[in-house]
Symmetry: C2
């Protein structure tokens, strides 16, 4: 079974949306990526850090989804990373209310020995030096390394970010961040500039407008499923990345054609994520639900113009 290493935060989130608010609930990039990847037939491990305040039931939740937690360090006298945010009415923008780094401030990720030969590595959003240190620990170059990042690191650690971007095969990034990273408004031109930085594949996430996959002169567009209601967008990008990475790890096929499917799986899983607060919807999806939604994606996008 293919191994997938997932690096990222395991955290507390407190979320406010127009539909309500939560107290501290389970969150974090590695959590969302892991839950999403858990729907594939792979051997996944999370590499992260939490404090002594982190409930065992949350760790059990990950374990029960077959996500190895031996790489999650528990700092007994430390506190877990905490993020709190409030979404605006359009759900496309949010204000960060609280960011407490806590144990994350000194996080030195340790990849468990039995995962140092993983075929796929998913570097969730973290300081680029932390992301790099994970790659340093792998026995050999993994078959595919995927990096997610955000504008915060462009503002405050751009050189480090460039150093890790050099080392990855796929970058997932949102549209505004792609524009910031390259100084190009056209996403086609931005993707081309990112190729020059290292990654051979560029995934640009556009939220409710879907995602674009670029590779050489090829481009593929997966829409987001139009939903009656987006309840909470938190974690949707990470869920997308987890579905993408999980599908690639399961199939072991890193061709552009197969990556199209990975983007569709990522979009499909992300469409569930936003239906409830936090990770709730991602904890217990049935394969039947996923299958039905994949069919919806087919109906949403496939057409029958005969061309030769």
């Amino acid at each position: 079974m293919s191994k997938l290493v997932i690096v990222g935060t395991v955290a507390f989130d407190a979320i406010e949306t127009p539909f309500g608010k939560t107290n501290k609930i389970l969150g974090g990039a590695a959590t969302y990526i892991g839950l999403s990847a858990s729907y594939f037939n792979i051997d996944a491990a999370a590499v992260s850090v939490v404090g002594g305040d982190f409930p065992e039931e949350y760790l059990d939740l990950l374990s029960n989804k077959n996500i190895a937690i031996s790489g999650i360090e528990i700092v007994k006298d430390g506190k877990t990373f905490f993020w709190s945010g409030r979404y605006h009415n359009d759900m496309n923008s949010r204000d960060t209310l609280v960011t407490e780094l806590n144990t994350l401030a000194d996080f030195k990720p340790v990849v468990p020995d039995n995962y140092k030969d993983a075929q796929v590595v998913m570097l969730g959003n973290l300081h680029p030096i932390v992301q790099s240190s994970v790659l340093d620990q792998m026995n050999s170059k993994p078959k595919l390394v995927i990096l997610d990042t955000m504008n915060f690191w462009m503002d405050c650690a751009l050189e480090d970010l460039h150093n890790v971007i050099k080392r990855v095969d796929v970058i997932t990034i949102n549209d505004e961040e792609a524009r910031q990273l390259t100084g190009e408004y056209s996403l086609v031109v931005a993707a081309r500039k990112i190729y020059e930085m290292g990654p051979k594949f560029v995934v640009i996430k556009k939220g409710e407008h879907g995602a674009l996959l670029f590779h050489k002169e090829h481009v593929f567009y997966a829409p987001a499923l139009p939903l009656e209601e987006v309840f909470d967008p938190t974690g949707a990008g990470d869920t997308f990345a987890g579905g993408f990475a999980g599908y690639i790890a399961q199939t072991g096929d890193i061709s552009f054609e197969n990556m199209k499917n990975a983007v569709i799986y990522g979009s499909t899983l992300a469409s569930f994520c936003v239906e409830k607060f936090g990770t709730e919807r991602m904890q217990n999806l049935s394969s039947d639900e996923i299958h039905k939604r994949l069919l919806q994606f087919k109906q949403l996008t496939q057409f029958e113009i005969e061309l030769t």
Copy 2:
């Protein structure tokens, strides 16, 4: 050969984009719709009005593309409708600099007798009373009536707008306008509310993010082709509508499955429109160029996940 009646402005536009500016050039909704529809094997007629200042070469241009101009009234001592606008750097928003209604102020459209039995009617953006008066002139209910409109009429002629919306089969409208018309943020819910106003099909245009087609519980998503450069977005929405209407008229098939193809043809033609100023790119497309771009749309959207 199926007949298509196109109602809308034939106008002068002066356009400023970050790439340059034009003097008064050929523009107008009916012009863009007509040029786009001219790439189908149909008998199309434009119904509009111009002033004595309108160059004969522009009318010849339409005639030469097999768009009947007998329904374009020429008011010898009047001036042609003139619009001028300036696009912002992101090309997604613009300021209107000048709007001179001129002959459009008193426009009473007259459908030529030999087009009163047209199977398809495309009501381009105009005052809803003018749009209604075209429907009044048809011999019988056309097979398909498509309406394009904009927020301006929601602000100043909402009741008249509702009266014409009631009478049409398909509405094309942009995302912000769909939200304004229905008071719903979710486009899925907005489309459902628009069904209740009359149209059985709702096309929501999202500019660079593509277009959605809604019918009952079905939805289809056509992305816009990601382009290196959008040179001038003027007329893209009308070009989309013209491709949609032209394809429906040619095929005579108003099923949802066939409308998906119509949306793809509309998107394909719109992707050319934005490549040059004004109507320039739409004046001389080869069937080979269109065919190649349809293939690009297939590659952009089609994937191979086997599902039963």
